[in-house]
């Protein structure tokens, strides 16, 4: 079974802080994704990566950046956290011919 591990289940940060969300997968999948999930809006794609050091913007990249230095690890960075970034953040992985497999999410609160 694919295991996608997100480093924190819950996180509380202050406005203006730099925030790092970490995601690690154990299945050697090429593709990794960051989504955020908000009530009434569903899952929205922030960034994705199809290879080490490669990254592509999703639908809502503003205020975020990502890093993929190793194949198994994909980090989401909030450069200066704001209250409108309070959300559930979900990491997912896949191969070109497999469905997305999700981690259990990080619920981030920015105060």
């Amino acid at each position: 079974d694919v295991k996608v591990t997100q480093s924190s289940r819950y996180l509380v940060k202050r406005t203006g802080e730099k925030v790092f969300l970490e995601c690690v997968q154990d299945m050697d999948h090429e593709n990794m994704f960051w989504y955020r999930q908000d009530p009434g809006l569903g899952l929205r794609l922030i960034y994705f990566s199809y290879d080490v050091k490669m990254k592509e913007k999703g639908d809502i990249p503003e205020g975020y950046s990502v890093s993929r230095e190793k194949k198994e690890r994909f980090s989401l960075i909030l450069e200066s956290a704001s209250t409108n970034q309070t959300s559930m953040y979900l990491c997912a992985t896949s191969t070109p011919n497999s469905p997305l497999h999700f981690g259990n999410g990080t619920r981030l609160t920015v105060t």
Binding site: E56, L90, L100
Partner: protein
Amino acid sequence: EDQVTQSPEALRLQEGESSSLNCSYTVSGLRGLFWYRQDPGKGPEFLFTLYSAGEEKEKERLKATLTKKESFLHITAPKPEDSATYLCAVQGGGFQKLVFGTGTRLLVSP
């Protein structure tokens, strides 16, 4: 622009009462339609992929079907453990960029 609309937003059933969830979509060049189940506080769990109109897939009490405009998730004789949010997503021409609906919250009472 690819779009997915799920209905109803919430559905309450008695144990054993069969029903269907709807996923209507518009997409330029469907490459796959996906169903996921999400339990509270957890990430979505993959259920099915459908690729072309007329295709059907089954897993235990769940059956997914696909037409050119919508997909249905049929739940036969549901049990309380089927309670969850069910998410539908489509993949169009882009690189595995799924567009998700907002989900249907299903509650099955004993």
